[in-house]
Subunit: 428 residues, 2 copies
């Protein structure tokens, strides 16, 4: 195995190419403020083209699968061995940042470039994956690219419509150069049982590492979630002066449900149980609301996430209790609408220990960190692939234009990844 | 004075014309569901034309003032005496009903028609007023038509813009055939000191009379209000997984403010102090919100109303306390925006006693009823005009398409009004 210090130095030498790659990605979907690369949009495809050109220049073999994911492979000495996958996504939310997702693909390419520069050849294939459609805001479906590749997309997912244009996922995949018929009929691109490991580098989505003054986090787990994307409360529109006993105020019912769940969250969190509860859309009806009218309709979306299935089940029960209580107290009816869920993603202790050892050898400070967010890595974990993640310090959260990741911190994470790859696959 | 029973019979004989008048009004601004006659819209003007034609057919003198209000006068024997005014408005909220406002104008015309049919002539002028622009949702200004006629419009009101088209009140008045320059420069159409009384019939806006099984309510007072039409909360958009301690969730801050004030309302109400608190608009930003994003912005409108200035002041203090507490707890900033208020409208005990006596003589059951809503009558009371109101039983509230007023109940209120007019102005 190459001396760890040489790997660290080789990764540092990738600073220029890394910065150049981010600059090229920043030309894909810039929408002031920030970046908008919708799932399967031309802007997302442009980002795939950017990383594919980079991989080609590095001498990797570039393939596109039926879901239009981009697989960039450094061939190993024994190509029959299960490969190591390193990947993340290239789409963004509306007006998101340039690092959420893309930093993980860049880190994978930089790690491979550094190891190749040292003259190494891996024992098994190492594939960097640019993954499609991770941001579930667009199709209200999680991990589309990953699950399409693994053959674990839920029934009907190809018929889901994108929130901005109402066109189906199948139509978008076809337009982006993929093959929805193959997704329906052919074996999946990836066989989970024949993948050695999946690793993902990602910016942190809340400033826990900033708070701790540490550049890299070792993921302890990815939360599962339960979602109700479109809950509708029906009360009655009434005159602003309507006495209390006659009201059926849909907005106050919504506020009551939200705060009831917020209280449960605060109590569980204080008791040491991490989770998150988010009412992202939370609104009266713009076509009918007004200063002098009691709101007769209210809509919201709900995302609940936690690191244990039991906690999720308890939260969902608390939500349904809050709905029933508010409906009773406020005289409204609540239509829950569709429900979606994603399982908890467990991290491989062996890989995590290996990453911690690599960080120690490199002298890079790390700390354990539960992922607040969902990630493609969870889809691989659910399919049975040994999985691990590295988080990179980032000051201003994500899903906004103000992400602030230092390239030095990304190179720290990349060095840990490269050192682990060398130990895992470039020995002997 | 004419025998009360004859007046009751004469009013009942107006059933056909009353129903025909409502049918004509129902052709003004029908927007399935319900009716939309925006303040100073062509639809509102059409309703004014309908009542003006009816008044003309009754032999009344019809005038339009600078605010485009319609004054329909039954001349008295001594035209120099202060007149009695009977009026209400002809505009509606969006998708409102055909009775809110219009029923009061119809009742005034029917009362006059009944008294004329009995061959009476009043001692002083009786003027039925079709009033413009009472629904403050359109310009966020209260009692525009009444206050324009009385010369009590607040500074800058003519520059207020209508919420749906952004055009100024002055431009709308001019387009509806009024004269905004005269409103600025000339003496007002009405001299409050030279008005004998103002009476208004209106559907009840919550089913208190339905609950009590009584057709007519005698108004005990009109609430004053304090309004914040456009409060904006600024937090920070964040990833849906952001841990609790990092969040600045604008929507949860809004929910907290709303429920804090709702609790104060419930407590005061339980202690016997009637009031109302309404967050009519209550919403995240449709351009930026989403399932997987913590809301960074939230907006709401607030209307607080009560029957005593001291109660209003206490409610406003409670609101500002709730804003400060939510801002502190949730790490958000709250921009209160514009503030508006309207004074409490006191009813003339003498007129109210007279109406009660007339109801008693007619054998029509009534009960005292605090108005839940604001009304043009409050603008007259504030200007010093002796004022009273009659409410008509209505099952489904107002400001919605499902108003349900029985014509029999309106005729009961009209009979009380006509009997009072006869006793007050047709004696001798």
């Amino acid at each position: 195995m190459e001396a760890v210090s040489a790997i660290g130095t080789a990764v540092r030498a990738q600073r220029g190419p890394v910065e150049a790659l981010f600059a090229e990605l920043a030309r894909c979907g810039r929408t002031d403020p920030g970046f908008t690369r919708a799932s399967y949009s031309p802007e997302e495809s442009a980002a795939h083209a950017v990383v594919a050109r980079c991989a080609d220049a590095l001498g990797l073999s570039v393939r596109r699968d039926a879901a239009a994911n981009t697989a960039m492979t450094w061939p190993g000495r024994d190509r029959s061995l299960p490969p190591i996958l390193i990947g993340s996504h290239l789409d963004t939310v509306a007006h998101g940042g340039n690092f959420d997702g893309a930093a993980g693909v860049v880190a994978g390419l930089a790690a491979v470039a550094a190891l190749r520069a040292l003259g190494l050849t891996p024992a098994r294939d190492i594939t960097v994956m640019g993954i499609r459609a991770e941001e579930s805001v667009w199709f209200q479906v999680s991990y589309i690219g990953s699950r399409a590749a693994l053959g674990t997309l839920p029934d009907g997912a190809l018929d889901a419509v994108r929130i901005d244009d109402g066109q189906t996922l199948a139509a978008h995949i076809a337009r982006a150069g993929g093959d929805p018929d193959a997704l329906r009929l052919s074996p999946p691109a990836l066989d989970a049982a024949a993948i050695h490991a999946f690793l993902e580098v990602h910016i942190e989505q809340a400033p826990s590492l900033v708070e701790a003054g540490i550049p890299v986090g070792l993921c302890t787990g990815i939360p599962g979630n339960v979602r109700y994307p479109d809950v509708r409360i029906r009360g009655r529109y009434d005159h602003v002066g309507t006495p209390r006993r006659f009201r059926r105020d849909a907005a106050m019912a919504g506020a009551e449900i939200a705060l009831a769940l917020d209280r449960v969250w605060a109590e569980r969190e204080a008791a040491g149980c991490p989770m998150a509860v988010t009412f992202g859309r939370f609104h009266t009806d713009a076509a009918a609301h007004g200063l002098t009218t009691v709101p007769g309709e209210f809509r919201f979306s709900l995302d609940m996430r936690a690191y244990a299935a039991g906690v999720l089940a308890e939260m969902e029960a608390a939500f349904l209790d809050a709905v029933a209580a508010a409906a009773e107290r406020r005289g409204v009816t609540v239509v829950l609408g569709p429900r979606a869920e994603a399982g908890v993603g467990a991290v491989s202790p062996r890989i995590r220990d290996g990453l911690a050892a690599a960080a120690g050898a490199l002298g890079i400070a790390t700390r354990p960190l539960g992922s607040p967010a969902s990630h493609d890595a969870a889809a691989f974990a659910k399919a049975g692939v040994p999985m691990a993640m590295l988080f990179v310090r980032n000051a201003n959260g994500s899903h906004n234009p103000d992400e602030a990741m230092a390239i030095d911190d990304l190179l720290d994470a990349t060095a840990i990844l490269a050192a682990w790859l060398a130990a895992e696959a470039c020995h002997g």
